[in-house]
C-alpha cells in the first residue's frame, strides 16, 4: 500500500519560478504603467495562492485558507483591472491575454486539478504567444521587448512543466530547490545566449538577403530539428 503520503503535485520551487516568469511576460505586455501594477498584483496573488498550499501542509489550515482567499482575490482583481485599464483596444486585449495566461499558469501549478496541469500550462503558453504576436502587430515594440516576452514565455512553460514532472516523481514534501535552481540556470543561460545572438543578428544590416531566402533558411533549420527529434522516436526507428 502506498502510505508515503506523497502529494504528487507540482513542486513549489519550480511553480514559483513559473509564476514569476509568467508575471514577467504580462509585464512585457503592459503598455501603460498601471498595467505594470496590475501584473504585480496578479503575481503577488498567484504567489500567495501557491504559498497557501505550503502553509496548509505545515499545519496552519486557517492561515492557508485566508491566503487562498487573498490570492484568488488578487488574481481576479488583476483580471478585472486588466479589462478596465485605460489603453487601446488591441493593447488591452494583448494585456488581458497575458493576465489570463498567468492565471492559467497559476491554476496549473496550484493545481486546480492535477490531470489538467499540463493542459493549463500549454494553454497559457499559447495565450502568451498570441498576445505577444498581437502586441507586436499593433504597437511595434522593440526587439528586446519581444525577445524578453518570448524568453519569459518559454521559461514560464518550462519551469511549470519541470515543476509538474518533479512533483510527480518526488512529491511536494521533498526539497527541490537545488535541482530546480540548476535547471532554471541552464534554461536561462540558453535563453540569454539565444537573445544575444538574435539581438546581434537583428542589428546586422543584411539588405542582400531577401525575406524568402531567410524564411527558407529558418524552415530548413526547423526541418533539421524535426528530423533530429524524430530520429529518437520509436515509431520511426521501427519503420
Amino acid at each position: 500500500m502506498d502510505k508515503l503520503a506523497v502529494v504528487q503535485q507540482p513542486a513549489y520551487a519550480g511553480s514559483a519560478l513559473a509564476v514569476v516568469a509568467a508575471a514577467c511576460v504580462t509585464g512585457v505586455l503592459a503598455s501603460q504603467p498601471v498595467q505594470l501594477s496590475i501584473a504585480g498584483v496578479e503575481a503577488v496573488g498567484a504567489l500567495l495562492l501557491l504559498g497557501s498550499g505550503l502553509v496548509r501542509r505545515r499545519g496552519h489550515p486557517w492561515v492557508g485558507g485566508v491566503l487562498v482567499v487573498i490570492g484568488c482575490g488578487g488574481v481576479c482583481l488583476a483580471l478585472v483591472m486588466g479589462l478596465l485599464a485605460p489603453s487601446g483596444l488591441f493593447e488591452r486585449i494583448a494585456f488581458l491575454g497575458g493576465t489570463l495566461a498567468t492565471a492559467f499558469v497559476t491554476l496549473g501549478v496550484f493545481p486546480l486539478r492535477q490531470s489538467w496541469a499540463r493542459g493549463f500550462n500549454g494553454f497559457a503558453a499559447v495565450l502568451f504567444s498570441c498576445s505577444l504576436a498581437l502586441l507586436a502587430w499593433v504597437s511595434n515594440p522593440s526587439d528586446l521587448q519581444v525577445l524578453l516576452g518570448v524568453g519569459f514565455t518559454i521559461m514560464a512553460w518550462d519551469m511549470a512543466e519541470y515543476a509538474i514532472t518533479l512533483g510527480e516523481d518526488v512529491g511536494r514534501s521533498a526539497r527541490t530547490y537545488p535541482v530546480t535552481g540548476v535547471h532554471f540556470v541552464g534554461s536561462l543561460g540558453v535563453g540569454l545566449a539565444a537573445s544575444i545572438v538574435a539581438l546581434v543578428g537583428g542589428n546586422i544590416a543584411l539588405p542582400a538577403i531577401p525575406i524568402a531566402a531567410l524564411t527558407l533558411l529558418l524552415s530548413a533549420i526547423v526541418v533539421l530539428l524535426l528530423v533530429l527529434f524524430l530520429g529518437d522516436s520509436e515509431w520511426l526507428s521501427k519503420s
Binding site: 511595434n140 526587439d143 518559454i154 537583428g202 529558418l218
Partner: protein, 427 residues
Amino acid sequence: MTSVEQTHRWRVAIAFVLFTTTAGLYFEAPAVFLASVLGIAYAGYPLLVSPPPLEVELSRTVTDATPDHGDPVTVTVTVTNTGPRTLPDLRIIDGVPALLTVIEETPRQTATLRPGASTTFQYTVAAKHGSHQFTPATVIAHDISGGTRIETEVAAGEQTTVCEELDCTVDLREFQLRQEARQYPGQTPADASGAGLEFQQTRAYQWSDPRNRINWKRYARTGDLTTVEFREEHRTAVVLCLDVRPAAVRAASSTDPHAVAYCIAAAQEVLGALEQQHEQVGIAIFGTDFDWRAPRASQQQYTEIDQLLRAHEYDQPTPIDETTTSPTVDVQQLVAQMQGTLEVVVFSPLIDEFGETAAQQLDARGHAVTVVSPDVTTGRSVGGEFVRVERANRVQMLREQGVLVADWSPEDPLVWPVRTHGGGSDG
C-alpha cells in the same frame, strides 16, 4: 534495471518556431520573426547536452533494525555519485516497506551531485508487526535540459551498508501447546502417564511394570508394591492455518497494516517458538489458492514455511479481486489431509464466517484448535461497528464451544490463551 528515455519535452519549441516565423512574416513584424531564434535555441538545447552516466551508490541505516510495534524508526539514506560527471538533476525515491507508514519527513529527495559528492536524507517510519523488506531505491537522473531521463534501481553497494529489513516481531507471551500429542517423544508434556522425567502419580503395581519403576521405599515402609508413573513427553504435530483470503485483507485504517499482515507476523512468531522446540510443524494457507504442507520437523520445513508466509504478505490493504475457490471446500480438503489428532492454530481476523467455520470443523474432528485473531475492526462507522459486534460474537461463540481464542489487539502483546477452570479460554 536501467532505462533511458527521451522526454521530447522541447519539441514544443519547434511549434513555437513555426508560430513565431509565420506570425512574424504575416504581421510583417521583424521582432517576432527574430524571436524564432529563441525557439530554435531551445529546440536544440537537449541536443547540445549529453546525458550523464548514472553511477550511484546507496547506503541505508536505521536507528533500530528490530523495533517494537509502534516505535519510530529513523532511516538515513546516503546516495553518492560514483560516476565521472556531475549529475545535475538527481531524484531519489527510497524503497520504503509497503506496510510501513512514513510519519516524519519524506523518503524522496532531489540533489545535484558532483563526482564523488553525496547527499543524505532522513525519514521516520512507524514500526508495525512483521518482517518488512526495503525494496531497492529508485534513482532518476535527468540531464540539465530535462531532455533525457535515466531511471534505475539501486540496491546494496559493495562498500556501503544497506539495511534491507526491519524486523518487528510480535511479543508472544505464555505460548504453550494444548497438550494434544502423537506417539513420538518430544518436549511437550502430555496428559498421559508413562516414561518421562516429571512425576505424575503412583498406582498399584501390575505384573508387566518394569522393576525400576517400583517405589521400593514405600514397599520397605508399608509392604505394598506401587509403581511410579511420570508425565509422558510427546512430540506434538502442529498445523498453522492462515486465513489470507482477499476478504481477510482488511485494515483498521489506510495507515495500518491489514489483518493478513498481522496473521502472518503472529504465525512467524509461533513458527519460531515451535522451531526452538523442534516440533513438527505443517501449514495450511487459505488464500486465492490452497497451500498445504504436512507436519514435519526439519530445518528445511521451517524455512519453507517461513518463505511461504512471506510470499503471502500482500501490499494492498484491500482485495484486488474476489476469490473464486470456495474456502469451505479448502477446509474440507484440509480435514481430509490431516491424519491423526493434531494441534491446530488458526490465524484469522474472524471478520466473516470463514475462520469460525474452519475452527469449528477442525474442533469437531477432535483436533486441538487455538484461534489467534487480530482485531482490525473499528467503530468509526455503522458498518465498522456492525463488523466489530459480529466478530465479538464469533469470538464468544468459539470460546463457548471450548476453542481457545486469542483476541489480539495488535497494539498489545499477543498473550496465548489458556484454558480456564470453566472450560473456556482466557486471552
